[in-house]
Amino acid sequence: MRSLSSLCATLVLTALAACADPPKQKTDTGPNDQSAGASGAAGESDGASGATGIELNGSPQHYRVVRLTNAQWAQSVQDILHLADPSGLEASFQSPVAGTTDFSNNELLLDVNQRSWADFQSAAESLADQVTSSASALANLYPGTDSSGFIRTLGRRAYRRPLTSAETSAYNALFKSGSAMPGDKSAFAKGAALVIRALLQSPNFLYRTEFAPSGEPLSGYEVAAKLSLWLRGTTPSDELLDMAPDLTTADAAAAIASEMLDEPAAVTVMREFHGELLHFARLGTISKVGVSNYRSSLNAEYEESSYLFFDKIFNEGLGVKDILTTTYGFVGPGMAKLYGIRQTGSGLIEQDLGPERVGYFSQLPFLTLNGLNGDPDPIHRGASINLDVLCASLGPPAAALPPIPALEQNQTNRERITLLTTGCGGTCHNDLINPVGFAFEHFDGMGQYRDTENDGLTIDSSGSYRFTDGSKKFADAGELMRAMAESQQAHLCYAKKLASFSLQRDIVEADLPLVSALSAISRAEDGSIKRVLTELVKNDAFRTHDEGAQ
């Protein structure tokens, strides 16, 4: 086995070299990791914006044709075809490869290839057959029997704009062709079925498009589609399409967005955002060895608790400051025992968790995920917050790292980790990862609060962190969270992530004006997520097509 010093040198050199690799680099060492270091060297020049210190690199293509996500496709066909229930067909569709971009709705992942074409073709045929299977089923979709009206009505929903005369003619010809095909159905049903199949396979349906000249406002229909697919997860309603021509101004678009943000569908969309941002899926993979108060059934509570937390933040007009500083959280029966609070009933209930639990990251889900069995895991707690909440640039981890040695008598966990990582000389560990991780040392691997450790040793959770707008000292996790809430960095980072999810692309240095504007809203006294999103809709980055680097 190589010596510790040689491993550490490798770690630092490796990280520096890897930072030059396109595309963006991201540290991600997975859960339940007992490693000496999660990352290599750091530095603000390491993939970070010189202006803000947060990481702003990626490979946006600024596509004008971005395929619907599987979820958008599913909800859209349900609404276009007036289906009473979800079809569920998208469950077998090809899924985007996760992990290669910040969010799975990134433009880079949304194309049509042989496999996905077969998915869409098959599903279109199945749905067309379903909705034309009987006269009553067809009447539920379109009450008339005129082909032109049928094509005009469904075409507008599918294309998210009125059909052109050429398109109408093509569909009329297709309808006629379908009507003449053999089969037991009525001529109208057969024609309608063929038209539905074509509509649902059309590139005008499968892609959300932005064909406005570069730098000029999108058309009202393009804005309506962008808003609806984003915040409602579906094709624009007939009512929204009626008002679409007027959606060419920032105020008009923002007004519609504000209404959408108060609808239940927006909560679902934001669940996707926060779930991917903070990796809630991993909560289901938590496993502990030799921890008497751990039950695998807790994993589901942790996951739902996390979603409910962010649902509330979004629904109640709260924002980043509240995410970082609220003492309230959602507690299930298993979690209540660990928190040491009384709770009756089987569901998850919102509770005040006490003054030690400041913000989401002081709650059980995050602390338990980033805990090694019963011990705290300051390296991964620190790395996760640096990456996901502060957008700090951390190089990738080295190929192999030494294990954390056993805790010695009269040694705190902090002393153990400090001894191990100080020897590496890694700037990121000493200045970025460790200070944040050590702030949570009062919480053990199960997230339970403790005053002492290792037979009565005093816990030191104090430290200082070099935020991009200055260093701040703190005594514990609560003070650190409040410092983060006041820092520009956490708001810039959240704004960057939110913009990436909303615009469906990587956010890079050229997007700094947008990110800064959103960050300023977030950092303000009433900086709710909804306000940030409304500001985003007003911004040219949302309402125009930016060519980007071609």
Binding site: S35, A198, T285
Partner: protein, 473 residues
Amino acid sequence: MKFNPFSAPRRTLLNRRAFLRAGAIAVGLPFLEGLPERSAWAADAAPVFSLFIVAACGVVGSRFFPDETGPLSVDSLAGLTDKATSVLAPHADRLLFVKNINFPMPGPTNCGHSQGLCQALTAAPAGGGGGTAYSNGMSADMVIAQAVNDAGTDPLTLYAGNRRNGYIAERISFKGAGAGQVRSADDNPYTLYSRLIGLTSKDGTTTPDATDAAAALLSSRKSVNDLVRGELKQMLSLSALSAADKQRLEQHFDSIRDAEIKMNNMSLACTQDGLAVSQLEAYKTGFAFRMDGMIEDVAKLHLELVALAFACNFNRVATLQHGDGTDATKYAVPSNAGLNWPFHHISHRVQSDSAIGSNQTAEDAHAEIDVVRMQTLLHGLDQFKERGLLDKSMIMWTNHIADGPTHSFKNVPTIIAGNAGGYLKQGAYVDAGNVTNNRLFNTLITAAVRDKTDWSTNFGDGSGSGGLDELLA
């Protein structure tokens, strides 16, 4: 003929498999068992079917292969009970074990798992690392598929593992170099099953009703496809589009393919016999991956379906990623009873995703897991044998690293089953001579495409060129 995968235009043959993938189920047709080309089985141009399996987290090298190279027989391999590959003894005369195959990178520069995955089928150094690692070249499965599949139909791409964890899953099949070129894989076996079921029957016959229904569906598809193609052409003419937009729409255009009907009886091996149908049907809804060893069940189902897909000539190429880079499966092997560690930690010999330890019990558990994985491979080989495919196929099993503790890219375990139509040596354990895997793939690609073209390109980006004579029959 010299075949260059990067410049050769896609063949324009009409593809009836695209039709079958969707149509049989979508419109409720009876079995369309006669649709695939019978010509694929013609004696004068015998097809070779290729399956590439990339398993996770290395093997225990000292307890995997025989200690010495040389001939393999059923008896000799079965006698090596301390070696994981002894499980494969029933097929010893159809096996080729290969030692001293290396990946192009001399060793990992950060996350060895992701970098290994990106090299396993590309023979090119990986770019980046961790969750965003990417390949620097097209993978061998894609090269072969473009050469042998009708209209360049993409390979089947399958995954046995936990996609929900989202860490270095689906990272072996690549369209080309650079970010965004990785190909998505199907994790639920029901997905492929649902696409194959329309091909199968008990007796290999075709009914008149099925023929008529298929003809009607095909005719209507042509009408729809014509309209869609027209719209794509119209979009492509827009001056506002970037080169990336045009490339995206052209890919879409190329993906739309008509089918044609040529009804012939096909292989009698194209039946549902041997499929775990009830298990597959159970995954129709609610496929929820568990970390309790379900991975092996899923892998077995995938292997059953690949064998069926090959027998039905649904596709000639497939990949299976068996486990993810940080595989969290908790295998119920004896030595893990006390540890209860996920596989990735076992492979590291310490309860960690990145640190390296030396726990002997973990090594024992890893060796036992190797046996379990060989049993899964054995199940697949049984399926291939039952369908008469071992003489028409090559099944390569490898790993994305050589072993867990070192994450080495040297002497990566390589097993080849099937003689690829008599082209490959069988019943032997050979030493490739410490070469990079580009030379392995030069041999395998040559074997796979030779009914369609000659392969003379040096695949990938390793050291040296040409094939490996040691592997030839």
